[in-house]
């Protein structure tokens, strides 16, 4: 065979292979889009359908479906929805402002000052992300109730004329602010670390004080990071149910999430109206996500140049002990006080505390509430279920996120933009709304999904898809294409190169994504509320049940059990993934 003939056969072969590859790629993209459509688009459409009709599509069938915007009109003209919306904006707005102050302060302290114990402060700044919102809310009920709060009891004992009332919008703002500050911290700390200090030096050479430099140069330069963190913490607060549910209930303060839940709780329940409120909440969130994208891509804030630099460290002198004490105060507020409150409530027989002396009366303490919760077979079952759902979510969701991440970042197939969009969409859907949407979407379908742990797992996979893909993407981007190309040259196919090159190299990222999913899934409350059945009761739902069942002792005891379990799991996860899972553990409600 001469050379040209051999060349010709090769091209024919290549072309046939190309067509085959092209067909395979198309099938692959279609399959991924179908899965995402099934997981994300279909439930949202069902929700929209429910909001646009006055019948229940499941009970009445689609035959009597009447398109009407009556629900939206009813919702928009209902002054209570307006109130809930205003409360939501005040609580999340105020909370975000506080989160920015706290997050920015700590990122500056950690990155730019010589405050002692910076590693410790950095860890403390991230800690609140791991507290389930309902647990945080319950702890602050025990601490901050106007009549019986432990803080007020202590103030009285110290003869201080000081009283706090957390059953209020300001209480809500405070708890939101301190627990969601890590979002701002995450963004601003890395921006400060990557910033070239030459501009600051220039400002100081021109005679500006350190303080003036901070506000006229440093903060304006990292503005995109501040805005990103701000918008993200706002979005997360919008979707939280646990905190406003417990702090707002005693004084009848509603936000959108608690209002949606109440609508479904009345007799008769108003699911269509709830769907309409949910759509409004989704639109507000969607708008903010869009805004965040716009801020991130709109202008150039390049401060990182090609030359190497070290971030400057400001010598605070004696003031460094002041900045250190700020971190201690924060630790006290987000961890120590709430934990003490939960311990008191969990071990105390009754939460009637006459005065500070009675608080230390050891005869009042016992293991009664722990015995009671472990006497209830649902307790162990809910822990078992939560772990089972967590593992299912982690494995299936991790595999799917891997497929999506690989397709988006390592291939050039057409349609990957749509895949990216659909995988990011759930960011804009609060957990509670996903729960309602999934209930409507799945119960009507034949087959056994409803009542199994799969409906919970699928809802969680959809809900946390953006977080998982994000964590995985980082590790994909770190692997150079050369390595894959080398595998191809050595005769490996695409699957072969994934198996021999990508998977081993991306392993820490994959493990991080899976452990993240696992932790997120066992914490999740909002979307579980509508999807559990007798066999699939999970921990977070049972905790709410204990709370609504009106026994603070048992609620606190189970909160401690859950906190301990989460602590162990997160420790394990961290150890497995070497810290990579820390990025977004807080987005659950």
């Amino acid at each position: 065979m001469d050379a040209s003939a051999s060349w010709r056969t090769e091209t024919i072969g290549e072309r046939a292979g190309g067509i085959r590859r092209h067909a395979a790629a198309t099938a692959w993209v279609v399959a991924l889009l179908a899965i995402l459509g099934f997981l994300v688009v279909y439930p949202v459409l069902m929700l929209l359908l429910g909001a646009l009709t006055d019948t229940n599509p499941v009970i009445d069938g689609f035959g009597v479906f009447r398109l009407s915007i009556a629900n939206f009109i009813a919702v928009l003209t209902n002054p209570n929805v307006g109130d809930a919306l205003v409360n939501t904006l005040i609580a999340c707005g105020g909370g975000t402002a506080l989160a920015v102050i706290i997050g920015l302060t700590f990122s500056w302290i950690v990155v730019r000052t010589n405050t002692p114990g910076k590693r410790f402060i950095a860890a403390v700044s991230m800690l609140p992300l791991f507290a389930p919102p309902l647990v945080a809310g319950i702890a602050w009920v025990i601490l901050g109730s106007p009549k019986t709060g432990l803080l007020n009891t202590m103030f009285k004992w110290m003869n201080l004329d000081l009283r706090v009332d957390f059953y209020s919008l300001s209480g809500l703002i405070f708890v939101f602010g301190v627990y969601y500050a890590p979002y701002v911290y995450m963004f601003t700390a890395s921006a400060l670390r990557n910033m070239d200090p030459s501009l600051e030096e220039a400002a100081e050479v021109s005679g500006a004080s350190a303080f003036a430099t901070l506000f006229s140069v440093t903060f304006p330069l990292i503005m995109p990071a501040i805005v990103s963190g701000m918008l993200l913490s706002f979005i997360v607060m919008l979707g939280i149910y646990g905190i406003p549910a417990v702090l707002g209930a005693p004084t009848n303060i509603n936000v959108l999430t608690t209002y949606i839940f109440r609508l479904t709780n009345w007799s008769p329940p108003l699911y269509n109206t709830a769907a309409a409120v949910a759509i409004i909440l989704m639109m507000v969130t969607g708008l903010l996500v869009w805004l965040q994208q716009k801020v991130l891509t709109g202008r150039s804030y390049t401060t990182v140049a090609g030359k190497a630099f070290r971030p400057r460290s400001l010598d605070l002198g004696r003031w460094r002990w002041f900045t250190f004490s700020l971190a201690i105060v924060y630790l006290l507020v987000v961890v120590v006080l709430p934990l003490l409150a939960l311990i008191v409530a969990a071990f105390r027989k009754f939460m009637f505390i006459r005065d500070a002396a009675s608080l230390f009366d050891m005869r009042q303490y016992s293991l009664m509430h722990f015995n009671a919760i472990f006497d209830n077979p649902l307790t162990l079952r809910s822990i078992y279920n939560a772990v089972e759902v967590g593992i299912t979510t982690a494995i299936v969701g991790g595999a799917l996120a891997f497929a999506i991440g690989y397709t988006i970042h390592r291939t050039q197939v057409t349609g990957r933009g749509a895949i990216d969009l659909l995988a990011t969409l759930p960011v804009a859907i609060p957990g509670l709304v996903i729960g309602v949407a999934y209930l409507w979407a799945w119960i009507g379908l034949p087959g056994g999904l409803y009542g199994t742990i799969w409906i919970l797992a699928l809802a969680f996979i959809a809900r946390f898809m953006p977080d998982t893909v994000k964590v995985l993407s980082t590790s994909f981007l770190q692997i150079h294409r050369e390595l894959e190309e080398a595998a191809w040259i050595c005769g490996k196919g695409m699957l072969g190169s994934i198996r021999t090159v990508i998977l081993p190299l991306a392993r820490p990222g994959v493990i991080a994504a899976m452990t993240l999913l696992f932790v997120l899934a066992i914490r999740e409350l909002g979307s579980s509320l509508f999807l559990y059945t007798s066999n699939t009761m999970v921990m977070s739902v049972l905790l709410l049940d204990y709370y609504e069942g009106g026994n603070l002792g048992k609620t606190a005891a189970f909160s401690l059990v859950q906190t301990l379990l989460l602590g162990v799991l997160i420790g394990l996860a961290n150890w497995l993934s070497r810290g990579a899972a820390q990025t977004s553990v807080g987005r659950t409600g």
């Binding site: 009848n252 009637f352 007798s534």
Partner: protein, 337 residues
Amino acid sequence: MMKKMMVAAALALGVSPALAQDFGSKELIDAANKEGRLVYYTANFAEVEQQVINAFNKRFPNIKVEMVRAPGGQLITRVKTEAAAGKLAADVVDHSDRALMAELVDLFQDYAPPNAGDYIPEAQISPKLWPRATLVWSIAYNTELVKNPPKTWMDLTKPEYNNKQIGQVFAASGGTTWTRIMFERQVLGEDYWKKQAATNPVLFPSGAPTSDSLVRGEISIAPLLYNAIYPKQKDGAPIKIFFAPEGAPVNPYATGIPKTAKNPNAAKLFLNWCLSLEGQTFMIKELGNLTSLKVAPVYPEGFDPKVVKVWLPKFDEYVKYHAAWVEEWNKTYGYRQ
């Protein structure tokens, strides 16, 4: 011959055949044991129902009761939605709001316990649905905080208890509360709500958080379902409970077995036991319920039938007035839905 031997064996074991008969035939018990489980939907509190299940399991240890507890409105939606999709998982549905259950009566199968004739007919809205639990309203106060306790329903309108000392469950929360506010209006007077609302009470979504708040001292006095507060008094909480002389509003539940029940025998046995003298006595003594049996085996602590008049709403009015009166109550108490 076989039967005689069994009776002899039963007598030898100290089990009276008459008592065994209370819960159903041997065939039923065998079939129930074979099914081995049942799914129980209830609107009552999980903690309370767990005790009922434990007591039932002392007698029938081989039948596992899987409980789904949800607040009234959610439970009804769950039943309706699941039934429409052909996926109703419940073998027993137990609900506090008889009006909501009345709409679903077609979902349920014919059922009557062995002691059906012992029950007050007015407590039932359908021959298929039974008053498994009968709850009664009382008034409770925190003894550490209230030095001059109220003695009647009318006392709850006194200005000395104003400014958030009293806790109230709001009207729309469900069947039991609706019974209480009907009682207040029909027995205590058309203007009772107005006078009571003038004390500026704290409003709660249900009885459980109200009783917890009372124990903690967030509020000092509250009308409460006896079974929501009695267990806490029993455990030693600083609480006193009394039944007021004007009357004790009573709300019988409506409980039935769906036609689609997968474990109908276990369901029947469970309801037979709950409705039996043993089951009702347990619920009165341990949980603080009343009973809809014509002759009550015992009364809860502090309840003297010679002094306290039980008040049962007329069912047609219970259905007819609901929407309008709840709305009026909301206005009077400034509670906005």
